[in-house]
């Protein structure tokens, strides 16, 4: 066999994945439903069952951490995923509170503030160079200013991330919709084409059958008629 890799990029799967067999999932679904009926819940997925058999225990998702924090891969996460406030980081906030701007829910104020910050950055840099040339000791303060503006800038951008995520979702859904519709149309077109061909084939076949069948039919009928005539003649004479 090949050499065992010393380390893998990702940690191994937790062993309890083997418990997720079709039988076990069906069993826990039944148990949940039973419990939900007992307790009068309408949604079986919200129900918690105590004292599950060992092999089913891992199929029930664990409860939310009580203190709202957990650790994964050495990082701490919180249930409420909130952007830390600038004030909490000891940075001066250079823009109005979210409640005070973007009154109609639109984000033009944010764009204006961002643009203003960008210009302000340039101006502050100009001032910094001037200070460095004339009075380097005073530059420290200016550098702090620039740092504050930069941090504020990034903060505003990060605030906007959920918005952009939703916006991306919308455009992805739109693309998916367009794709599905195009696919449907293509399928319909193909189907129509096939049906038209079928119709064409149908009319073609009828003609063929008719043109082939008629001369034969005539002969058959003639034979029959002669036979009948002969019969009739015999019986009348």
């Amino acid at each position: 066999m090949e050499e065992e890799p010393v380390s893998s990029t990702w940690p191994l799967l937790p062993l309890f994945w083997q418990n997720f067999t079709p039988e076990n999932t069906a069993r826990i679904a039944d148990l949940r439903k039973e419990k939900a009926d007992q307790e009068g819940h309408s949604d079986p997925s919200k129900v918690r069952i105590e004292n599950l058999p060992r092999e089913l225990r891992c199929l029930q998702p664990p409860q939310e951490p009580e203190d709202g924090e957990w650790r994964v891969f050495g990082n701490k996460y919180t249930l409420v995923d909130e952007l830390p406030k600038l004030e909490d980081m000891g940075i001066q906030r250079l823009f109005p509170n979210p409640e005070e701007r973007d009154q109609d829910g639109k984000h033009f104020d944010r764009a204006t503030i961002l643009k203003r910050s960008a210009k302000s950055l340039l101006l502050n840099f100009l001032e910094l160079t001037g200070l460095l040339a004339t009075n380097p000791e005073a530059a420290e303060e200016k550098i702090t200013d620039i740092r504050d503006i930069l941090i504020n800038f990034h903060h505003l951008i990060n605030e906007y991330r959920p918005h952009q995520a939703r916006e991306s979702l919308i455009s992805m859904m739109q693309a998916q919709l367009d794709r599905t519709r195009a696919e449907t149309n293509a399928i319909r077109d193909a189907k129509d084409k096939a049906e038209r061909i079928l119709e064409g084939l149908g009319s073609l076949k009828i003609e063929d059958v008719a043109s082939e069948a008629v001369p034969e039919g005539k002969d058959v009928w003639r034979d029959d008629r002669e036979a009948w005539d002969a019969l009739v003649g015999e019986s009348t004479s």
């Binding site: 764009a111 840099f125 800038f153 906007y160 049906e195």
Partner: protein, 138 residues
């Protein structure tokens, strides 16, 4: 190339780096001047490998300054452009949610239509198949 917000963040970081680069350049390549008539530029013995300043000729220094300044302005303009094309500036959260819900419904409808179309296509195929088979038989 990330999304526009990341691009914007990168652009701002680049601007900050340009600030540093500008100061570094000026700090490193400026010329030495005497402040008064009695001052003298001392001849520092060049025993260290690295000189404190490596003066560029005045015209090169001047041109470099202009270029750095222009780069700064260009970057700032880029940032403003990126800000103005941020996605969904004129959508509020409610708009977005409504939009998403509508799209979800439309998607469901479109998917049902697609499945219907697939079914129809299969029927047509079956018909075509039957015809072809019957033709083959004499």
């Amino acid at each position: 190339m990330g999304d526009r917000l990341t691009q914007l963040q990168d652009a701002v970081d680049q601007l900050a780096q340009q600030f540093v680069a500008c100061i570094h350049y000026i700090n490193r390549h400026h010329n030495l001047e005497t402040l008064g008539p009695n001052d003298m530029i001392r001849d520092v013995p060049k025993e260290q490998d690295q000189q404190e300043v490596a003066p560029h000729p005045p015209d090169v220094f001047r041109a470099a300054q202009v270029e750095l300044a222009q780069d700064l302005i260009t970057k700032e303009q880029q940032i403003e452009l990126l800000i103005s094309i941020l996605p969904g500036l004129d959508n509020s959260e409610q708009d977005q949610e409504r939009n998403i819900r509508e799209l979800e419904d439309e998607l469901k409808a479109a998917d049902a239509q697609r499945r219907e179309a697939v079914r129809e296509r299969e029927e047509a195929m079956a018909k075509l198949d039957a015809v072809i088979r019957s033709v083959r038989r004499p």
